[in-house]
């Protein structure tokens, strides 16, 4: 489970001064569900996921991920999460299998248990045909599969996906979305960040709308539509974002 408690992040920009990237965001993601963070580019989605995955520290507030506090138990949180994004690359001069061996070692696996975990991850992502190729020689879709294999190698309780289909072709995107659904079906807590409405409509059990670093709506797809009297998610999104936009203007 993921539960945030007024999580906030400020950055210092030498030219613009203090920037409030995320402001007291509260949301909850349950096991066996896909929770969507929906927002335009620059809304603060990636910053939220970075805080939840302990890469950066919240300025205020905190969050509990897989039973551990992101501020005080960062190492324990990292051992229980997987992170997938199109922005995170692979090591070009390692083969897919070597990459998995490396990360398996970092997660504390050795010997036979490491081999078992690698084979499982390769089987789940159907990467066997290219796992022994250098990552530099792989197609974008193949890289994404190895990236997923790396993220699930240690069988994490919680999966964070940051715009995982961005820049991928339709077949690779479908494969990723299929993987996200299977992770939900396996009882994982999935937090899925995107700006693509159709993906949210297809996948998400719960949706949190983020705009200018604040939550401007949350609930199921039907809740959001009924709250705004809209017939589509797109209309609901625009209706909920507008007041935040006007307030910041």
């Amino acid at each position: 489970m993921v539960q945030t408690d007024k999580i906030s992040k400020q950055f210092h920009d030498p030219k613009k001064g203090l920037i409030q990237a995320v402001d007291r965001v509260d949301f909850c993601a349950q096991p066996g569900q896909i929770t969507g963070l929906l927002g335009v580019n620059g809304a603060g989605k990636t910053t939220i996921l970075r805080m939840l995955s302990t890469v950066i520290r919240p300025t205020e507030g905190t969050a509990i991920v897989a039973g551990h506090d992101v501020k005080s138990e960062a190492a324990k949180v990292r051992a229980k999460i997987g992170f997938i994004s199109t922005g995170t690359a692979l090591y070009g001069r390692l083969t897919g299998r070597e990459m998995l061996e490396y990360f398996g070692g970092l997660y504390g696996y050795q010997g036979q248990s490491l081999k078992t975990q690698i084979e499982k991850a390769i089987a789940t992502t159907e990467s066997g045909d290219f796992a022994d190729q250098l990552c530099d020689k792989m197609s974008t879709g193949q890289k994404q599969r190895i990236g997923i294999a790396r993220a699930i190698l240690h069988e994490p309780e919680v999966l964070f996906l940051d715009e995982p289909t961005s820049g991928l072709d339709i077949l690779s995107s479908q494969s990723i979305l299929g993987f996200v659904e299977s992770a939900r079906d396996a009882g994982k807590t999935v937090v899925f960040s995107t700006h693509i409405m159709s993906e949210v409509e297809r996948l998400c059990d719960q949706i949190t709308l983020i705009h200018n670093g604040v939550v401007c709506g949350s609930g199921t797809l039907e809740d959001l539509k009924s709250q705004t009297g809209s017939t589509t998610l797109e209309q609901a999104f625009l209706a909920l974002v507008r007041p935040v936009e006007e307030a910041s203007a």
Binding site: R57, L90, L94
Partner: protein, 400 residues
């Protein structure tokens, strides 16, 4: 902190080494280039040394109005080729065209002038041409001998002891101890090259190591794993240290192989052969290990601070001057007479180069070794602390 107790660092170290050894830039920059450079240096210097030690045949221009008898005497000298010119300025023109190395203008009646003690020879040479300066020097010696001969003749004619013409003689002996690389022209150059490659070997890859990972997005993946950030920094520094050490050692191995081959081309570069004592090897090892620790920690800190590969390379290029200057000075310190000054032992990089230089001559100078090792350790620990601090700062590690 034992390496075994930081398994994350060991994993990072192994992965980095595997990746580096598959990187053509590292193989060329850290291993092929040092061997190529040392081979080039040795063969070029060997060629120069062989040329200098061989008797040179020098072309000299002499004005046609010069004393004919004196001219004939000069022509009889094997090492000289005499070319006659109309006047002095024509000879200077030939000198500028590098057709002759010296221009001489003798008095018309040289013997008479010598008898009167007023023989003045006008010589033209080019200071920037080593062979021209050599020709002048050789001719100057010949003049001194001629002067002595003239005095001897006068003394003989006067019935006096002609040995008074050379009453004082100088017998110089080269007492350099024939051990290590003593007496070799390479002994000043080699420490400079070893220090240089310890730095440049690592510089070829360090930008990729941290700034490159930030730029490509692989750093974030690493930060999400349970490995501690200090372990990431230590693993990367260990890997970089090994590459720096390998690169510096390649130079040393290269010179050992070339010295052991006893080639005709390089015989003048190794007058005492090539051998080094166990103490010398240990001193070089202690100095190099701590020196690469300094280079690896400082370069990793710079790479961590930089936003991207280009910025890292800019900072490292500036840093290379800090490394180069003391290393270059180590070649010239013999001319200053300050080799034994206390401050040399405590000057970073210079002390390492001096420690290596003396060890190569099989003269382990403890003040240099202790100075180099302790100064390197202090700087290395400070840079390690800075590198780990930078790895823990999200504003540094996240910025691209």
């Amino acid at each position: 902190m034992k390496f075994d107790t930081i398994p994350g660092a060991r994993q990072v170290f192994r992965k980095e080494i595997k990746e580096m050894l598959r990187d053509r830039r590292v193989l060329i920059g850290a291993f092929v280039m040092p061997i190529f450079m040392i081979a080039l240096f040795v063969f070029l210097m060997g060629f120069v040394m062989n040329t200098v030690t061989k008797k040179q045949v020098l072309e000299i221009a002499v004005t046609k109005d010069s004393d004919q008898q004196f001219l004939e005497n000069l022509k009889a000298v094997d090492e000289l080729i005499i070319v006659t010119t109309n006047d002095f300025e024509s000879g200077v023109a030939m000198l500028k065209e590098k057709r002759v190395k010296l221009v001489l203008d003798f008095p018309t009646n040289m013997s008479e002038a010598v008898a009167q003690g007023k023989a003045e020879i006008h010589a033209g040479f080019m200071r920037d041409d080593p062979l021209s300066a050599l020709a002048l020097n050789a001719f100057d010696k010949a003049i001194s001998q001629a002067n002595q001969e003239a005095i001897r003749t006068v003394l003989r004619n006067q019935g006096m002891n002609e040995g008074l013409a050379s009453a004082i003689t100088l017998n110089a002996e080269d007492r350099t101890e024939k051990k290590g690389m003593a007496g070799s022209e390479l002994v000043n150059l080699l420490p400079y090259l070893i220090v240089l490659w310890a730095f440049f070997g690592g510089m070829s890859i360090v930008s990729d190591l941290v700034a490159g990972e930030k730029e490509r997005g692989t750093m974030e993946t690493l930060l999400i794993s349970p490995v501690r950030r200090a372990e990431i920094a230590i693993g990367k520094i260990m890997a970089l240290s090994l590459i720096c050490l390998g690169s510096a050692s390649t130079t040393f191995v290269g010179i050992t192989v070339l010295g052991s081959l006893k080639l005709e081309m390089t015989k003048n570069l190794f007058p005492s052969g090539f051998h080094i004592t166990i103490g010398g090897v240990l001193a070089i090892l202690a100095t190099l290990l701590t020196l690469v620790f300094v280079f690896a920690t400082s370069m990793t800190a710079i790479s961590a601070y930089a936003r991207n590969i280009r910025e890292s390379q800019t900072y490292l290029s500036l840093m290379s001057f800090v490394v180069l200057l003391p290393a270059v000075f180590s070649q010239l310190i013999g001319f200053t007479g300050k080799e034994t000054a206390n401050w040399v032992s405590w000057t970073p990089i210079l002390n390492s180069a001096m420690s290596i230089r003396n060890a190569l001559k099989s003269e382990v100078t403890m003040s240099y070794v202790v100075g180099a090792v302790s100064v390197n350790l202090v700087i290395g620990v400070i840079c390690l602390w800075i590198a780990i601090r930078l790895f823990r700062r999200e504003d540094i590690l996240q910025r691209v």
